[in-house]
Each structure stands twice: as structure tokens, then as C-alpha cells.
């Protein structure tokens, strides 16, 4: 894997988490991979026996999407939302809400695709309803929260290694 394949996670504002990743493909393909059920089924959240039980996309402004994943043990996890802006192949805005809410309120996802020399930079911003909601997500495992928690862990683990 080359360096461009590395994912970056940042927190530009206190309600946001932004993930950036470069793909070696034109952006219309990346856009399709995010919006066509037959393509989503191939990559989003499908691992360790988890597959899509429901993968429905009504790609129009005001149209809904609905994803339900099912694990080998029969456990299910669902989420969905509504498309707010669709500008293929450069921009997609949608709401997101998990069935078993693990943060308060809905979040707003904005995906921006920029293409250069055949590579596409995918910037995915998730805007939460409040700083508390965002921080809740961070604590459960993304960037700054991850970074901070990791720093805390690092500090402990390092001192363990030394002693």
C-alpha cells in the first residue's frame, strides 16, 4: 500500500469529525461506490461475516437510504437517513441516524470528492448535533478522542515497558 492510501482523521470544529482518504480511481467511480447498493454491498461494513441484510438507496434529494447489517450470530445493526444534496460526482450530503442511537440526535454527512491526475480525494465530514454528541463518538473511537485516548494509553504502556 502506498502513502496516499492512508486515512487521515481530523476534528476541524468541535462538532465535526472529518476523514480523508485518497483513492486511485476517478471520482465518478468513487461516487457510484458510495451510492449504488450493488457496489455498497461489496465494501461498506462487510467483514468478519457481517453482510448487508438491507441496502436500499433512493438517490434523490429528500430520498431515503436504509442500511441493515447482519452478523453470523444473527445480530443486526441498522442505520439510515435522507439525502439532502446530490451533485454527482463531487458532492453528497445526507443525514445519518443509527437505530440503536449511540450518540444523541442526527448527524449530517458531507462527502466531497476531488480528482487530480486520476486520483480521488474523498473527504467525509460528519457534523454532529452538539459537541457532546461528537465527543461521545470520539470517546468511542475516532481521531482526536482516539488520539487523546491513545496518548493516555501510550503513556501508560510506555512506562510499563520501561519498568
Amino acid at each position: 500500500m502506498n502513502d496516499t492510501a492512508k486515512m487521515q482523521v481530523t476534528t476541524p470544529t468541535d462538532r465535526e469529525i472529518v476523514m480523508t482518504r485518497v483513492f486511485d480511481a476517478p471520482r465518478d467511480l468513487v461516487f457510484d461506490a458510495w451510492t449504488k447498493p450493488e457496489l455498497l454491498r461489496r465494501w461498506l461494513g462487510v467483514f468478519n461475516g457481517w453482510t448487508f441484510a438491507v441496502c436500499e438507496v433512493d438517490l434523490k434529494v429528500g430520498g431515503a437510504y436504509r442500511f441493515v447489517w447482519r452478523g453470523r450470530d444473527g445480530n443486526e445493526m441498522g442505520m439510515g437517513g435522507v439525502y439532502r444534496e446530490i451533485a454527482r460526482p463531487e458532492r453528497l450530503v445526507s443525514t445519518e441516524k443509527f437505530d440503536e442511537a449511540w450518540y444523541p440526535g442526527e448527524a449530517l454527512d458531507t462527502m466531497v470528492l476531488t480528482e487530480k491526475d486520476g486520483n480521488t480525494t474523498c473527504t467525509l465530514s460528519v457534523l454532529y448535533a452538539s459537541k457532546e454528541a461528537r465527543d461521545g463518538v470520539l470517546v468511542s473511537g475516532m481521531d482526536k478522542g482516539v488520539a487523546e485516548s491513545y496518548d493516555n494509553l501510550d503513556e501508560v504502556l510506555k512506562s510499563m515497558a520501561v519498568t
Binding site: A25, W69, D109
Partner: protein
């Protein structure tokens, strides 16, 4: 933006672990305990803290599952428990791996789509 419930450790446990780790004194106490068990008196010394203050921190660490306390009523030595720490690290790594995994599968799919597009273009 992604499934997060894939077999994670109990949420309350993780919250307690991260909350416990957020305090520098508690991290220092953990670091000290990494070199061996210690009593409240022994822990209070290097930190220039009252035993009551140290006891409070130990309670938080114990609730988070990061340490356990001995039964010896006099000393009640504290010792570090690796599992809560390991669970926390593992969960964070799993979360990141979920997205890295998603995007690696997407890489493979895009390669395939590019090849198909190329083929079609030449027909």
C-alpha cells in the same frame, strides 16, 4: 457513519476506563503499579498527596477495572489489571481497522470498476 456495534466491550466499561485514564495522576499511579503492587502509603509518597486523595484515585481505577486491591486489611496493596487496558486499546484499534478495512475493500472494488470501464471503452 459506520457500524460501530460489532462486538464491542460494554460501553459503560469503556467509558469508565477512558474517564479513569483521562487524569494524569491516575496514569502516573498506573505507571508506578506497572513495576509492582504498592500500598496506599507507598503510592502517596512520590506524589506528595494525602492518602485520602490517593484512595479516591484508586477507587476510580478499581471501578474502571484497571487495578485490583489485595484482601490484606492492613495494606490492601493495589495491583494493575491488564484486561481493561487491553479492551480499551483493542476497541479503538478495531474501530480504526473497520474504516481502514472498508476503504481497502473499496480500493479493490474501484480497481475492478476501472478495469471494466477500460474494457468497455475499447469495445
Amino acid at each position: 457513519m459506520q457500524p460501530t456495534s460489532y462486538g464491542q466491550p460494554p460501553r459503560a466499561q469503556l467509558d469508565a476506563t477512558f474517564a479513569a485514564l483521562a487524569d494524569p495522576t491516575r496514569r502516573a499511579i498506573l505507571a508506578r503499579l506497572a513495576s509492582g503492587e504498592a500500598s496506599v502509603t507507598e503510592l502517596a509518597e512520590p506524589f506528595a498527596m494525602s492518602q485520602a486523595a490517593v484512595s479516591k484515585h484508586l477507587k476510580v481505577l478499581e471501578r474502571a477495572g484497571l487495578i485490583s486491591r489485595g484482601r490484606d486489611a492492613q495494606r490492601r496493596p493495589s495491583r494493575i489489571e491488564g484486561k481493561a487496558l487491553a479492551d480499551a486499546t483493542e476497541w479503538l484499534e478495531r474501530y480504526r481497522r473497520i474504516w481502514e478495512g472498508n476503504y481497502e475493500r473499496l480500493d479493490a472494488l474501484l480497481d475492478e470498476l476501472k478495469a471494466n470501464k477500460h474494457q468497455r471503452g475499447h469495445k
